[in-house]
């Protein structure tokens, strides 16, 4: 309508069934309800408007106002988010949450201001698991396999530490590639493995919880500055409330997805403490390589939180 501030929110997942898609729709619903007359939000799911590679460019151009790419998409803006890609950095989603709401985590949201982006809220997807077309129990099982990974230096280093071969590949091609054996395995969260039906074309999924997939809701500094302070505060408050509720529900969605995979006949391998430790031993050395990017103090803070859980 006339006079309303139009907020375009572009993301790349389904509007239903995916934690991010659901949160985005909830956010839009509340904004359009509670801020009727001042602000109006349109959500563009499924990469229909921009995909994650283009959305940040478009945001700096002023063509889209809100986005929530996965943290590995911010590589070019700041290297601090690499901490979330480092294997076994966080014990579980609660530890991630505690870290992000700590002062350290809050500071990270401001780390891209000089490049024109303001982080607003972290949205969770869940802990990552490994799946492959052969049983994965010990890290040696992954040796020589081809794994599809997101194009990020940390994830490439992580796969190399396992002796596996990292393969960059468009997300839409992954199912076909796993099925036909162009690649052998992949890493993802329960909800993605269920949503994309990867378990159908894999021998099984190993519950490693070795990393996390998280999103950052961002807006451009220029756009936020252009908003009337009262409007901005109202919007950010709604966003925060949606975030808290959405993140709280992620654990349930995750468990549901995991159960759905089992119900559909998918194989899930749980690891004993010793078995899991073997994976930690092989992959943890990757930390050293990126300590300079993420800061030793940040790593220490993360470990402190893990210990307190």
């Amino acid at each position: 309508e006339d006079g309303e501030i139009v907020v375009k929110f572009a993301h790349v997942v389904n509007a239903t069934g995916h934690p991010k898609g659901v949160a985005a729709d909830t956010l839009a619903g509340r904004v359009n309800d509670e801020m009727n007359g001042t602000m109006c939000m349109e959500v563009f799911p499924n990469s229909t408007l921009y995909d994650d590679d283009q959305v940040l460019e478009a945001m700096l151009q002023g063509d889209v106002q809100l986005a929530a790419p996965s943290l590995s998409k911010f590589e070019t803006f700041t290297k601090v988010f690499r901490i979330f890609d480092l294997p076994f950095m966080f014990k579980n989603v609660d530890a991630v949450d505690a870290f992000q709401t700590s002062e350290t985590g809050q500071a990270m949201k401001d780390s891209m201001q000089r490049r024109g982006l303001q982080g607003l809220q972290f949205w969770h997807n869940g802990m990552k698991q490994f799946s492959a077309n052969v049983p994965l129990v010990s890290p040696a099982d992954a040796q020589g396999l081809k794994f599809r990974v997101q194009p990020s230096d940390v994830l490439v280093a992580q796969m190399e530490a396992l002796g596996a071969s990292p393969q960059p590949m468009a997300f839409s091609e992954v199912y076909g590639a796993l099925q036909t054996g162009v690649v052998d395995g992949q890493e993802n969260t329960w909800s993605n493995i269920w949503g994309q039906k990867f378990f159908e074309v894999q021998d099984g999924t190993t519950e490693t919880n070795h990393g996390i997939i998280d999103y950052l809701v961002v807006a451009s500094v220029d756009w936020l500055d252009s908003l009337d302070p009262a409007v901005r505060d109202q919007f950010l408050t709604i966003l925060e409330e949606v975030t808290v509720a959405g993140n709280a529900a992620v654990g349930d969605l995750d468990a549901q997805a995991r159960q759905s995979i089992l119900d559909a006949g998918g194989v899930i391998r749980e690891l004993s403490d010793e078995e899991r430790q073997a994976w930690v031993d092989v992959m943890k050395p990757v930390w050293e390589q990126f300590e300079g990017d993420v800061g030793a103090d940040n790593i220490a803070a993360a470990q402190e939180i893990n210990a307190s859980m």
């Binding site: 070019t76 071969s165 393969q167 960059p168």
Partner: protein, 226 residues
């Protein structure tokens, strides 16, 4: 190509022709070879050149964006000539001039868009004004820090860092390099559209389109036959 061409009589014209053809032909060859090599590396050696995919898609963009101007030069772009062929020479000329005008407007608007898109990545200012540029926008945020996902900097890293990124070194190729083809290709396209329009005005060309995509292939096949 079937359409009319501005006969390249001068040595310079011949050189430019050969260069354009060389460039687009071997960009395609490079894309093919990189993709093929990566398949072999993956299947036989369990290895991948990580930047292979990204470089291939960049080359794809270069191929097309450089090729568009060549297409205007050789009157090779597809169109509908059903009406053009029915009407008399007078109306036809008016229609062709109108479509030349449409191409000029398209090229002009795209030129502004291409500059505005590319400029911040190279630390230049985008233009002000929504349709017509009315000056440079000094509030443009410098986005020279923005780099590609996987492509390494082959050489000149220090120079690039000093000149464009306030001394901060790039660990990947900055985006303004692959993106440069956008303003460059669109400028070339605009130039060829202007040339074509002049050609129409001077009566050297009778349209901007070829509607028979494969005419050429047919002509060649016939020559091979004879």
């Amino acid at each position: 190509m079937s359409g009319q061409t501005d006969a390249a009589v001068s040595p310079l014209g011949r050189f430019v022709n050969a260069l354009e053809e060389m460039v687009i032909a071997y960009i395609l060859a490079a894309m093919t070879v990189i993709t093929f090599v990566n398949v072999v590396l993956r299947y036989v050696f369990n290895h991948t050149i990580l930047w292979g995919l990204e470089v291939t898609t960049i080359l794809f963009a270069w191929l097309v964006l450089l090729g568009i101007s060549y297409g205007f030069k050789r009157t090779a772009h597809l169109g509908v000539d059903a009406i053009l062929n029915i009407v008399g020479p007078g109306p036809k000329r008016v229609m062709v001039l109108l479509s030349a005008l449409a191409c000029l407007v398209y090229g002009g608007l795209l030129m502004k868009g291409a500059w505005d898109y590319w400029a911040p990545f190279a630390g230049y200012q985008r233009t002000e004004g929504r349709i017509i540029p009315t000056g440079f926008d000094d509030r443009t945020r410098d986005q020279a820090f923005y780099h590609t996902e996987q492509v390494p900097v082959p050489f000149g890293g220090e120079f690039l860092a000093e000149r464009f990124n306030m001394g901060e070194s790039y660990d990947k190729l900055p985006r303004f390099i692959p993106y440069f083809v956008l303003p460059f290709g669109v400028a070339l396209m605009l130039f060829r559209i202007i040339q074509a329009t002049i050609g129409v005005l001077a009566g050297r060309r009778d349209s901007l389109i070829v509607s028979h995509e494969a005419e050429d292939a047919v002509a060649e096949a016939r020559m091979a036959e004879n």
